[in-house]
């Protein structure tokens, strides 16, 4: 029975993280799959969302634990998250994380988004690094490399903390469903049509009177906002965050692999890709014998990415154009 419990717990935490990756992946699909923006700085918005949410809800710091962190703790106290009650704050915190990411994307985008594909990519990669380095070095902001621990849980105390993932899971899924339908509606609207037109041929879009720059900015900000929401959920799910969690490997490249695997240009593919790849990554620790070696697992994950891209270059669910 103990074994069964372990498996169920594992499935719970798997679904929570996969759901969060799926939300971020929908954001990436808006960027790359629909608008054609080559964003390899997902980590920037992932981290910004997580830190914004944490700073807003963290209780005043305990001086023994937090030596430098001062800004966020006072902020949560000043805003009175205590009095309103954290559970009610939860949706507001998600919106705040989204808003911060959208604002940063809009600002950065207004400088760099005119750059051609590859060059835009490198500036986003730089943004990801810069955000992580700020949280690493500026101790007063979020306690530097020690990170933030003991991030409060939404709907805490309903069940044994052991089973908390199953309380949080429905919330993640609700957010995922909302994000999916919102993005789907936008994609099917005239706005989505202009976005696709920009991906297909920027000159044509510009020549039929569309302000390509503005539309790109909007799409960039919207996708970034979704990534921020994913980041906020991640902070609540993990209960603690450190800057190291947002290194490009797990916070950017894995998400890219999920998108390409699932099929870019298609939100359903993006969501499926997140669940499939995360299933492969998180279940590979159960491989028997020498295959369980963590380094060999890494190699196997790499090989799987290569093989899937060779066999199904358009992803598991290719982009379909079904519109009435």
């Amino acid at each position: 029975m103990v074994e069964l419990e372990g498996i169920i717990l594992h499935i719970g935490s798997f679904l929570v993280i996969a759901g969060i990756y799926a939300i971020i992946n929908v954001g990436l699909n808006v960027h790359y799959g629909h608008t054609g923006l080559f964003n390899i700085g997902i980590a920037a918005f992932f981290a910004l969302g997580a830190y914004t949410a944490s700073i807003l809800v963290m209780p005043p710091p305990n001086p023994d634990l937090y030596q430098q962190y001062e800004w966020g703790g006072n902020l949560a106290f000043t805003l009175g998250s205590e009095r309103i009650g954290f559970d009610l704050w939860f949706p507001l915190v998600l919106i705040a994380a989204a808003a911060v990411c959208a604002a940063v994307a809009y600002l950065v985008g207004s400088i760099t988004i005119r750059l051609r594909g590859d060059y835009l990519a490198i500036t986003t990669l730089g943004l990801g690094e810069a955000v992580r380095l700020v949280f690493t070095n500026e101790g007063w902001l979020a306690d530097g490399t020690r990170g933030l621990n003991g991030i409060p849980r939404v709907l805490d105390g309903l069940v044994d903390p052991h089973w908390y993932d199953f309380v949080f899971l429905p919330l993640v899924l609700i957010v995922l469903v909302v994000v999916y339908f919102l993005s789907q509606r936008l994609a099917a609207s005239p706005w989505g049509r202009v976005i696709l037109a920009i991906r297909e041929n920027e000159d044509t879009a510009e020549m039929v009177g569309k302000n390509v720059f503005q539309f790109k900015l909007q799409a960039f900000a919207y996708g970034a906002a979704l990534m921020g929401i994913g980041g906020a959920l991640y902070a609540f799910a993990k209960h603690s965050i450190t800057p190291q969690a947002f290194e490009p490997f797990f916070a950017t490249f894995i998400i890219w692999a999920m998108l390409i695997l699932g099929g870019s240009g298609n939100h359903r593919g993006a969501i499926l890709g997140a669940f499939v790849l995360w299933a492969v990554i998180s279940s590979s620790q159960f491989l028997p014998g020498f295959l369980g070696d963590p380094n060999l697992r890494l190699a196997v994950i790499g090989l799987i990415i290569v093989v899937v891209l060779l066999v199904r270059p358009a992803g598991i669910v290719p982009e379909t154009r079904t519109r009435t």
Binding site: P190, T204, M207, V208
Partner: protein, 257 residues
């Protein structure tokens, strides 16, 4: 004589050392069809790029409807009523033919993120009108049967027609057509020429057409401008241009070289 709708004054554009457009001036009267012809490399397509601000003007001025056209972003040029087609079709490949046209009209309320999410009813009603208009244009170009086809799968000729369709969808005052006839079957092209004349008469649309098919230009145009090596060398009615010695020179020179 009516006020010209388009006025180009001393336009200059150079790439490196080459003056692609060199001190060009001409006027286009509203409600006319003008042919812009000349040997390869005469600067005709560059002229279109200058008018639509795809390429910045290095000196000179361009007026449209009495307002400066140069120095504003291309999408603003389009919104003032100038539509153009590309010599190499700029179709939106992974979108359907109908979508290629429906994307064009300006002032779509669904293009704002907020309304497209929160006012789907309004958006849908407008969308129906736009689709109707798009189907009308498709009928005009005899592309109705390809409505749901992805634009990438069209033949070169069909893509050219789609270009014209896109220009028509914009409800323009001035349309710049860059080699519309290349790859289009001649019978269909004659129909399209008739459509262009009808649209000029019914909606007062002004047309400027770059084309290598000189007989076609002579047949359908009210006026003809001839360019060679970045300069305007002749400007008049088809009859005047036909008998112009410099034009013959430019063309024969082009053939000899």
């Amino acid at each position: 004589m009516t006020e010209p709708i388009l006025k180009v004054e001393d336009a200059v554009c150079a790439f490196g050392g080459l003056r692609a457009v060199d001190n060009c001036s001409f006027e286009i009267e509203a409600g006319t069809i003008t042919g812009l012809i000349g040997p390869n490399g005469a600067g005709k397509s560059t002229m279109f790029n200058l008018i639509t601000d795809m390429v910045p003007l290095q000196s000179g001025r361009i007026f449209f409807d009495g307002h400066r056209l140069d120095g504003i972003p291309p999408h603003s040029v389009a919104r003032r009523g100038v539509a153009r087609t590309f010599q190499i079709p700029g179709e939106l490949g992974r979108m359907t033919v109908l979508e290629n046209l429906a994307v064009v009209p300006e002032g779509q309320i669904g293009e704002a993120m907020f309304t497209s999410v929160f006012a789907p009813g309004l958006v849908r009603r407008q969308e129906e009108r736009i689709r109707e208009q798009a189907r009308e244009v498709l009928g005009l170009l005899q592309l109705t049967h390809l409505e749901e086809e992805l634009a990438a799968n069209l033949s070169t000729g069909q893509k050219k027609l789609l270009e014209i369709g896109r220009a028509l969808m914009a409800s323009p005052k001035l349309v710049l057509l860059d080699e519309p006839a290349a790859g289009v079957n001649p019978t269909l092209m004659r129909n399209i020429a008739q459509t262009i004349r009808d649209l000029r008469d019914e909606r007062g649309i002004t047309w400027v057409i770059v084309e290598h098919d000189v007989p076609l230009i002579m047949e359908m145009c009210d006026r003809v401008i001839v360019m060679a090596e970045g300069k305007v060398i002749a400007n008049g009615t088809p009859e005047e241009v036909r008998s112009d010695a410099r034009v013959l020179d430019a063309y024969l020179g082009g053939v000899a070289a």
